[in-house]
Each structure stands twice: as structure tokens, then as C-alpha cells.
């Protein structure tokens, strides 16, 4: 019976150069649904404890969900692996057209194992899988590699993910480029591909994705579409993407300025929708199946960086590669972000690292190379560092390519005081002094500092109400309760795999309707909350197994000990005492002990106590399970 899934994973083992299929167990679908759920469970089961993230024993997976590749509006897919940047669980979500193609080829997810001996790319065309040489394209950037793969295959219709030089060189915050303008950006998944000598994966499929009740599904999708049309937030995203968040964030005092020294920037408007509409935007592009079309496509057509086609400078890039390093020419920021896209670097972490480096130079902790100016506001300096980090051809590039946590540890002295990270992941562009709940969100997110697992800014300075009442901006009570609810619900939807922007409009009722009609399952209104809580505990179990302790559920020193110099939250910080209060409350809300470990009772209530394991048959015999694997050099 059709249920939105394709019923199988594709396993590709780069070491043995074999591929095979694995049926999706019913228990996995029942308890984990798809996307992040599958990833959380499989990463725990398939990666040995203590695995080197850049060793062959790490697994990298591309997971779709039951609503990916359907007419359900605004769906995506995700990459899951053990992060080389943080050493813990990583998922990174991407839109575009690669995710749906996994299902059109007949799979709910790709599980990549091992390490190729030579540069390789994998070509999946329905049930044909080839391991092909990527030696001729090793050293190319992520966008050029996309083109090269399609030409090599003579398959312009193929959907391709690639890494650039940064991934090849195992920069710890290298990304995976998912066709143009879409990336699995955070946490270094690109370095994991690089460590496996995997330059690209190309996929094309002719299978149909079927849902349980097409008529009911059509109606449910219409209802979700109506939710989106009724949403002012979605309308703003259609109008100007996330660029309008720049002036808003500045007005509410959450925009990082000069490596988070401050949280207001008097030139913010130049980086926002006003500046971008003037200098960049031409038209709109959408991810597969999305009516929101948040991508504002355009071009730099004048000035030093012209001519260049560019997507919108997203809020996170504008904040971290713009205001955070004191650069306000939006064309220059677009140029720097495009450099990151091509090299295959996460522009968020890269902006954080550059801010850290500029401040280190200011404080005399780093000596800039002769003739190079590394200071806030310097586009040339930022460009130099992006190149050095991606190419790993200098001591400075190698130091900064480790991310701010490791770089600060190597530099020693006072460097940790201005290294903005949680668990090694550089802090996103929502600076939290003044929004303690957002601080708690960073402290507790499963992949390190992440704004997408619970966006508390919306409650604390955005006017969003909790149970019909406004939320106290600076108060500490209730923040843990609100955040846990957000984390659980969103993780539940990340099994589908939802896009955050769709979730601004689509109601929980509509998600339930679409899910029921697609899968044929009957679920209640609390389904996604409980599912998300299960996942949140599963990822916690992974992180604890990998050595995480409660000591790392904390904020960077600057946020904790330096009161804000100006802006709406002048004088604010999130102190050690504030963190302790919120964290104790959070553990209690979660049913975790004081060390942040899930109790056996909690695991039992979530059906995680039985510890059923997902296993992969070690010696596949491709011919017997219906997949022909062609080997090619």
C-alpha cells in the first residue's frame, strides 16, 4: 500500500565499490518516520562509538521524508553524519532538487559507507549505480564540478551534489553544494565527503512517488497552501526572502556586529532588503514543490564584482559575512558568499571565523602575513582568508580551517574569550544577549549553536505569544518549557522533511492532514511533538556516547561575561547563574538527570529503551538483491 515512501535505502560502500538496497523496516517508519528521524537513529546504530568523523568508519547519509518529492508545499531533505567540526551529531537541511530525486530514483535515503581509494563520484540512475572516477575534476570548485559531472554523464537532467576544494582539503566547516544556491551548509559534511574521496553524487530517477489517498492528500496540500497564503511571514519571504530580517534584527538588537562585540549596526539597512533590492534582485526562484519562492535571484551588475549572478544574500550570510565583519557593500558580501559557495565553505562559520581572526589580529594574537591587511571592514582581507582557509596552503589557513574553537585553543592566551561557538559550531547571526531563551536554544541544540531548532527570538522580541500571553523578554522562567516544545515539534516535522519557512505558515493541523493522507497512518495532534521528543533524546544519546558532557551545554564567554555596550539590550549578558537556572529547568522539562542524561523512565516512555538496532548486511551480493552495480574506472 502506498505510503509516500519508496520502501528502501540505497547503500553505497566506497571501500568495496559495491551498492545494494536495504528494505525500510516497519519499526523504523513507525518510530522515526523519515528525514531527521531516520538519520538520528541510523547514525547511532551505524557509526561506531568514538569514530573519527573523517575516517572511513563515519557514515554520511542523505535522507528524504514521506512528504519529500510530493506536492506538499515546502519540503526538503537532509544530510546526517558525525561532524568533524563538533565531534557530535550533525544534520544539515537542504532544499532544491536533489532531495526529491533520491525518491524518484526509488529510495528513501542514501547511506554512504567507507572510503574510496581514489577520487570518485557516484552515479545513481534508478537501480543502476556506478562508481566513477573523479580524478579529472578533483581540485575544481563546487559549482564547476556540478557542470563537469553532468557533462561527463551527458545527463543535464541529473541532480548533483558536490564538494569544492574546501571539502577536498577537509576544512572542518566545508559544505555540500546541492545544485546552485542550495547547500547542506553547517558542520562540515563537505569535509566528510572529502575524507571519503567522494567528489559528487549524481542522481536521476523515473519512479513515481505515491501517496495513500491521493484525493485526501490533494485537499490537505491545498489547505497547507492556503495556510502559506494567509501567513504574513511567508508573504515577507516571498517578497524579499530573509533579507528583510536584517533591518528587523538590527531594530530588536540581535544583529552581530564586529565579532559580536555589539548587537546593533547603524549601516544594517545597506545589507537588508533595501540594499539588496537596489543592487541585486531581479526575479524569484523556488525549491522543488515550494510556492513561497524565497530565493531572490539577481546579479551584481555594477562595481568591482560585476558581472556576477547571485542568489539573495540570506540573513545569516548578511549578518555573519556582513555586519559581523563590518562590511556593508552588499555587492561585496554577495561576492564573498559566492566565493564560499564555490570553494564549498559554510558562509556562516566562515564569517564567524573571519570575525575571530580580525579580532585576533587587532589584539596582536595573530600576525597577518606581510602585505595583507586583516581588519574589520576589509573585503580584501576577508577574501584572502576565504582563499587561505579553502586551499589550506598556509599556516594561517590551516589554523582557521579548524574553526574558532580549535583555533582559539591552539592560539591560547585570551583567544577563547572571543571565540563565538557552542560545542565547536560557530554561532549563527542572532546574537543572544538580551534574549536568554535564544541563548538556551544555542546551549542545547543537538548540533551545537543553531538558531533553527527553536527560534526563541520570535517570543522574546518578536511578539509571539505562548499560550495566549506575551513572553517576558529578559525573564528566565518558562523559557525552557517554551524551547522544549519548539525543539520537539520542529524535530518532528524534520522527519517529513519540512522547510522552516513553510512551517512559518503551515499549521500543525495541516501537517497532520498531509501526513495522514500520504502515509495512511492515523495520528493525533500530539504526534509530531512526541516523535520530535523521541528524536531529541536519540540525538542526545549519540552525543553523550561521543563524550559530550553537561559542561558543554553553555554559551561562549563573550555572551556570558561582557555586558552589551549599546543598543536596546545595553548592559545585558547571559551570566553563569542565568545559564545554570535555565539549564536546570531545561533538563527537568526534558526528564533528564542533572548531568543532562535521559533517564531510563524517559527512554521507556519514548520507546527508546528496547534499543532495536538498524544493521547493514556486511557482505552484499548485489545480483541476489536485484541491483546491478557497474564498476567503471
Amino acid at each position: 500500500m502506498a505510503d509516500g515512501s519508496m520502501g528502501q535505502f540505497l547503500v553505497a560502500d566506497l571501500t568495496s565499490r559495491k551498492a545494494w538496497t536495504l528494505p525500510l523496516p516497519q519499526w523504523l517508519k513507525d518510530d522515526f518516520v523519515g528525514g531527521k528521524g531516520f538519520g538520528a537513529k541510523l547514525l547511532y546504530d551505524l557509526t561506531p562509538a568514538g569514530a573519527d568523523p573523517l575516517g572511513p568508519e563515519n557514515v554520511i547519509m542523505f535522507m528524504a521524508g514521506p512528504l519529500t518529492a510530493t506536492a506538499a508545499p515546502a519540503m526538503r531533505a537532509c544530510v546526517i553524519t558525525k561532524s568533524p567540526l563538533t565531534g557530535i551529531y550533525l544534520d544539515s537541511f537542504f532544499g532544491g532538487r536533489f532531495g526529491p530525486e533520491i525518491k524518484f530514483a526509488g529510495y528513501d535515503g542514501l547511506i554512504i559507507l567507507g572510503r574510496a581509494t581514489r577520487p570518485t563520484y557516484v552515479w545513481i540512475s534508478d537501480d543502476q549505480v556506478e562508481f566513477r572516477s573523479a580524478e579529472g575534476m578533483w581540485g575544481t570548485d563546487a559549482l564547476a564540478a556540478n557542470d563537469r559531472v553532468k557533462k561527463d554523464l551527458d545527463a543535464p537532467e541529473a541532480r548533483v551534489v558536490t564538494i569544492g576544494q574546501a571539502g577536498e582539503n577537509r576544512v572542518k566547516f566545508a559544505l555540500i553544494s546541492c545544485e546552485f544556491n542550495r547547500q547542506a551548509g553547517r558542520g562540515g559534511a563537505g569535509a566528510v565527503m572529502g575524507s571519503k574521496n567522494l567528489k559528487a553524487i549524481a542522481i536521476s530517477g523515473s519512479r513515481l512517488v505515491k501517496v495513500n489517498d491521493p484525493a485526501a492528500f490533494h485537499e490537505a496540500c491545498d489547505a497547507a497552501g492556503a495556510d502559506i497564503r494567509a501567513s504574513q511571514t511567508c508573504a515577507a519571504l516571498t517578497d524579499s526572502g530573509t533579507s528583510n530580517a536584517v533591518p528587523w534584527s538590527n531594530s530588536v538588537g540581535t544583529l552581530p556586529f564586529r565579532n559580536y562585540f555589539d548587537q546593533v549596526d547603524d549601516q544594517a539597512d545597506r545589507l537588508g532588503d533595501e540594499g539588496q533590492k537596489k543592487h541585486l534582485f531581479l526575479g524569484k526562484a523556488a525549491c522543488f514543490g515550494c510556492p513561497i519562492r524565497c530565493s531572490q535571484m539577481g546579479a551584481v551588475r555594477s562595481g568591482k564584482y560585476a558581472p556576477m549572478i547571485t542568489d539573495i544574500v540570506e540573513y545569516e550570510s548578511a549578518a555573519l559575512m556582513g555586519s559581523n565583519i563590518d562590511i556593508h557593500d552588499v555587492r561585496a558580501v554577495a561576492h564573498l558568499v559566492k566565493l564560499c559557495d564555490a570553494y564549498g565553505l559554510d558562509s556562516m562559520s566562515t564569517g564567524g571565523v573571519i570575525g575571530f581572526a580580525f579580532e585576533a589580529v587587532e589584539k596582536g594574537i595573530i600576525d597577518p602575513p606581510p602585505g595583507v591587511k586583516l581588519s574589520f571592514g576589509s573585503v580584501a582581507g576577508a577574501e584572502y582568508l576565504i582563499d587561505a582557509i579553502a586551499m589550506q596552503n598556509s599556516d594561517l589557513g590551516r589554523l582557521l580551517g579548524l574553526g574558532v574553537r580549535r583555533a582559539a585553543a591552539r592560539l591560547g592566551g585570551d583567544a577563547e574569550a572571543f571565540a563565538l561557538h557552542v560545542k565547536g559550531l560557530e554561532v549563527p547571526g542572532w546574537a543572544p544577549r538580551g534574549t536568554p531563551g535564544m541563548g538556551l536554544a544555542y546551549m542545547t541544540a543537538d548540533r551545537g549553536a543553531c538558531h533553527q531548532r527553536g527560534f526563541m527570538v520570535a517570543y522574546e522580541v518578536g511578539g509571539k505569544e505562548f499560550r495566549g500571553k506575551p513572553v517576558d523578554t529578559y525573564g528566565l522562567v518558562q523559557k525552557a518549557e517554551i524551547l522544549k516544545g519548539e525543539q520537539d515539534y520542529l524535530a518532528g516535522l524534520d522527519t517529513l522533511v519540512k522547510c522552516d519557512f513553510g512551517a512559518f505558515g503551515v499549521t500543525s493541523k495541516s501537517y497532520v492532514r498531509m501526513f495522514q493522507a500520504a502515509t495512511g497512518r492515523s495520528v493525533d495532534a500530539r504526534f509530531f511533538d512526541i516523535l520530535g521528543e523521541r528524536i531529541w533524546n536519540q540525538t542526545r544519546l549519540f552525543n553523550l556516547r561521543e563524550g559530550l558532557t553537561a559542561r558543554e551545554d553553555r554559551l561562549p564567554r563573550r555572551i556570558v561575561s561582557e555586558p552589551l555596550p549599546s543598543g536596546p539590550h545595553k548592559g545585558r549578558r547571559i551570566s553563569e547563574a542565568d545559564m545554570a537556572v535555565m539549564l536546570a529547568d531545561y533538563y527537568q522539562q526534558r526528564g533528564w538527570d542533572k548531568n543532562g542524561h535521559p533517564t531510563e523512565g524517559k527512554l521507556q516512555s519514548l520507546n527508546l529503551d528496547k534499543r532495536i538496532r538498524f544493521t547493514i548486511t556486511p557482505k552484499p551480493i548485489p545480483d541476489q538483491i536485484g541491483i546491478s552495480t557497474r564498476l567503471r574506472d
Binding site: A71, L208, V209, P214, A285, G289, P291, R293, G298
Partner: protein, 144 residues
């Protein structure tokens, strides 16, 4: 003589979302796959441009002209050229001679498929969120 409907494309409004193709493949095949829909979208210039291509319901339809069994005929109600699956022998000559590649044998149905305007209420047009696809009324049909 009849009114001729056709789908007008406005590439400047197309965002490449493919919701049209999802609606089309679901109606045609009972499942989703844009590659098997009866209209195509070309994404170009790093996603700066999107070009939808739909059947022109030609006045001089090569697909019908080359069909050896006259399986492709005009629906008098809509003006659409429609494949009669009872007669189609899946020779795929229609595909070979269609100048824009929007007719041909489906891999599973083993019959030629093409846009029939959904009997006058095209699902793709209804699914398009931007107005990049419009149902338009043309003049009299030139029977060629």
C-alpha cells in the same frame, strides 16, 4: 470549427517550483515524478531563469500527422490533440517529430502520452502559484 484552448506560458513569472509537473504526473500516472509530466521546465543561468514548455496544441500537429494509426486526434470540445490509447501502438514516431519534445511513450504505460488540457481544466494551471501558466482561448482552429 471550435474554440481552441491552449496553455500560455509566462517564463518571466516561472520560479521553477515544478508544482505544475507534480499535478500533471499525479493526474496522468497516479504518482509524482516531474520527469514524466507532460510539460517541461528548463532551469538556466544558475537558476536565474526558468523556461516552462507546454504542448502548443498545434494547428499543424506533426505528432498527429506522423501517427501511423491516426491515434492522435483533436478534441472538438477543447481543441486539444488527444491520444487514443485504444489505437496507439507505441511506435513513438510522435515523439521523434514533435519539435518541442512534449509527446511520447511513457515507460510504464507503454502508450504515447501528451497534454489533453485535462478536458478544459488543466491541473498544471491550477497548481501554478505565480501565473506562469495560464489557460487561454485562441481563435478558430485551422485544420491545416
Amino acid at each position: 470549427m471550435a474554440e481552441k484552448y491552449f496553455i500560455k506560458t509566462n517564463f518571466d513569472l516561472c520560479t521553477g517550483c515544478c508544482l505544475c509537473q507534480l499535478a500533471c504526473s499525479m493526474r496522468l500516472l497516479g504518482g509524482y515524478n516531474p520527469h514524466r509530466a507532460l510539460l517541461r521546465i528548463e532551469h538556466a543561468g544558475e537558476n536565474l531563469y526558468h523556461f516552462p514548455t507546454v504542448c502548443n496544441q498545434c494547428a499543424n500537429p506533426y505528432c498527429a500527422n506522423v501517427c501511423p494509426v491516426q491515434a492522435i486526434r483533436r478534441d472538438p470540445a477543447t481543441g486539444a490533440m488527444v491520444v487514443d490509447h485504444e489505437q496507439c501502438v507505441a511506435c513513438n514516431l510522435c515523439h521523434r517529430y514533435c519539435p518541442i519534445g512534449v509527446v511520447g511513450v511513457d515507460v510504464e504505460l507503454k502508450k504515447s502520452v501528451k497534454c489533453d488540457l485535462c478536458d478544459g481544466a488543466p491541473r498544471c494551471v491550477a497548481a501554478c502559484p505565480t501565473g506562469a501558466l495560464e489557460l487561454a482561448v485562441g481563435g478558430e482552429v485551422n485544420h491545416g
